[in-house]
């Protein structure tokens, strides 16, 4: 397989097609339009596949719901304000245990915000986002290659656990061009999920519903969802570490912020500072066990996010008082460079007497 140079948004589209995505429903919003356009060009002409530019984000997510009801691998994408509109549909998908892939190439908020990259939808993504007691799997890629890999994985996870999966990217990842290798060939016929609604032929009719007038029944549905979430947490939690073995200070960052932190850490290592990086790949389930384990030997942590401090709460919960925690964040779509982050890290390093 050869590498091709591609922007992140298009790479998600290509990866989705190769993962057997049959239906894509989108609505224009910057900075993710290349993905919608890629699907309009490349998915719409594939046999048995469907592309619809919906009239709204709300319509798009409900089209995803319909396609998933019928057993298709289905996807939608948007950026922060549009993702807020999709929350209704995501709640229904979660309640009905329907797989789907939702891409959020985050931009600055709140409100219409800016079109620059940000990470301020972490809370929304990792706490469910819509109404009701539920979670979605949330993946945090930090390169174009990982966008492609995690897109494929997202479809597999969604089907395996019958759950919506959110890819939490950002405007930089979507626009940035990098070499990428696609590790699968597209299936000639998109797969159809077993147990989908395809008409009551040779079997009794089936119902997909969320409403019940019986609270005990609904409680059992909730229990059943959370039993599955416990399994996902056990089986699918993923993170990456970089130079943590001898580190005295570990930076915890996800997505593009982790990429920036990595550059800072490389530079600081060359100056002799023992610093490392812990990067959650699954943002939900959050990799709290690896952090807990790390906190036995490493005591100083710095969470760096492109927001005012959201993931930092998960890190705090994971550390459970074991280790000192500092935070550095830039909100609103400001993208700090590695030298700015390096200054923050080294200041903390020296202040805490880690040299």
């Amino acid at each position: 397989m050869t590498k091709v140079l591609m922007d992140g948004n298009s790479a998600i589209g290509e990866a989705a097609i190769r993962a057997g995505c049959q239906c894509y429903f989108g609505y224009p919003i910057t900075p993710q339009n290349e993905l919608t356009e890629y699907m309009a060009t490349h998915l719409s002409r594939r046999k048995g596949c469907a592309f619809v530019q919906a009239e709204s984000e709300i319509a798009a997510i409900n089209m995803v719901y319909g396609a998933s009801v019928a057993g298709a691998r289905a996807m939608t994408s948007s950026s922060s304000p549009g993702i807020s509109l999709k929350q209704e549909g995501i709640s229904y998908l979660a309640a009905c245990e329907l797989p789907a892939v939702i891409v959020n190439m985050q931009r600055g908020g709140p409100g219409l915000g800016s079109i620059s990259a940000a990470q301020s939808d972490y809370f929304q993504a990792t706490r469910g986002g819509g109404h009701g007691d539920y979670r979605t799997i949330v993946l945090g890629p930090s390169s174009v290659q990982e966008l492609a890999d995690l897109t494929m994985r997202a479809f597999d996870l969604a089907d395996r656990y019958k759950i919506p999966v959110v890819i939490l990217g950002d405007g930089v990842l979507g626009q940035m061009k990098e070499p990428v290798e696609f590790k699968r060939e597209a299936p000639s016929v998109p797969p159809i999920r077993e147990g989908a609604l395809r008409g009551a032929k040779g079997r009794p009719s089936k119902i997909i519903k969320t409403f019940t007038s019986n609270p005990s029944e609904l409680e059992e549905i909730n229990w059943s969802l959370f039993r599955r979430y416990a399994l996902i947490k056990k089986e699918e939690t993923a993170c990456e570490t970089f130079l943590t073995d001898d580190a005295r200070l570990v930076v915890v960052a996800f997505g593009i912020a982790a990429r920036i932190a990595r550059g800072a850490i490389k530079n600081l290592r060359s100056e002799g500072l023992k610093v490392g990086l812990m990067r959650p790949v699954t943002l939900w389930p959050f990799p709290d066990e690896p952090l807990k384990e790390m906190s036995k030997t490493i005591k100083q942590y710095l969470v760096f996010e492109m927001n005012m401090g959201q993931m930092v709460e998960d890190v705090q919960l994971a550390l459970a008082g074991q280790g000192e925690l500092a935070f550095y964040g830039r909100p609103g779509g400001v993208i700090p460079n590695p030298s700015e982050v390096a200054r923050v890290i080294s200041r903390l390093y020296y202040q805490k007497g880690l040299k």
């Binding site: 319909g66 009801v69 040779g202 009719s205 089936k206």
Partner: protein
């Protein structure tokens, strides 16, 4: 011996929870009769809405997927695009189709989605207790228009059949009522035609059904049937609003 009455095969033998005189149970039965007569039970997917008819899935013996409020046309689009061999119908009330779901409805219709919509117009939000609907008549008292709908403040009843008929993607639209045996027979014919339009791949089809809601109208069933004739049909005249004929694919 000639059989003149049977329980439709695609209607479950579950007793209806609907109020006496309500149009839902009649319409459920009509849709099921059509599904049986056209032999569609094994390929039909129905989309019930929130509201009184959320429990439609307890009555229709076909695959059913509940939609969020107003999103039926978008869900139908997703199902039909993913599985074009299916026969897809949405079942929607006036708040659902003409209020919260206006955008989804208009755009699915305009795309000429090959799906059928059964639109129950009873001029109120039923399940929530009789609030003003987009189709509430002028002067009509509801729990949120206790002094009668004042068009200066609350606007006018919206006529969805007329609006949708203007769209090029729409193949067939008829407004019927289920308030008399003759009208019920006409309603069934319209439903059958709408499904046939879908089978022929001619585009979006909808049957708007004026349906009595005696409970929220605070009338007896008999009075509510009369009220459909005397008041509702004056604002919502019955008839065919769009029929592109045999042409395949509305343009």
């Amino acid at each position: 011996m000639k059989t003149i009455y049977m329980h439709p095969k695609s209607l479950k033998k579950t007793p209806f929870h609907y109020c006496p005189g309500c149009g839902h149970s009649v319409v459920h039965r009509l849709v099921c009769e059509v599904i049986d007569e056209m032999d569609l039970q094994e390929r039909t997917i129905g989309i019930p809405p929130p509201g009184c008819s959320v429990f439609a899935y307890n009555y229709f013996d076909v695959d059913m997927a509940e939609s969020a409020h107003g999103r039926g046309a978008a869900v139908a689009t997703g199902i039909k695009r993913a599985y074009p061999a299916s026969v897809v119908f949405t079942y929607q009330g006036d708040g659902d189709l003409a209020g919260i779901g206006t955008a989804e409805t208009i755009h699915a219709a305009n795309r000429g989605e090959n799906v059928t919509t059964i639109f129950i117009n009873n001029a109120v939000y039923g399940m929530t207790g009789g609030q003003m609907a987009p189709t509430t008549l002028r002067g009509m008292k509801t729990t949120t228009t206790p002094y009668g709908r004042d068009h200066i403040l609350e606007g006018h009843p919206i006529r969805m059949s007329e609006i949708l008929a203007m769209l090029d993607g729409v193949a067939y639209i008829e407004r019927v009522a289920v308030n008399s045996p003759a009208n019920i027979r006409k309603a069934k014919k319209a439903i059958a035609k709408a499904f046939q339009v879908q089978l022929d791949g001619r585009g979006f089809s909808m049957v708007e059904i004026l349906s009595p809601c005696p409970t929220n109208w605070k009338m007896t069933p008999v009075k509510s049937w009369q009220w459909v004739d005397e008041e509702m049909t004056r604002v919502f005249p019955l008839g065919v609003y769009k029929d592109i004929g045999e042409k395949k694919g509305a343009d």
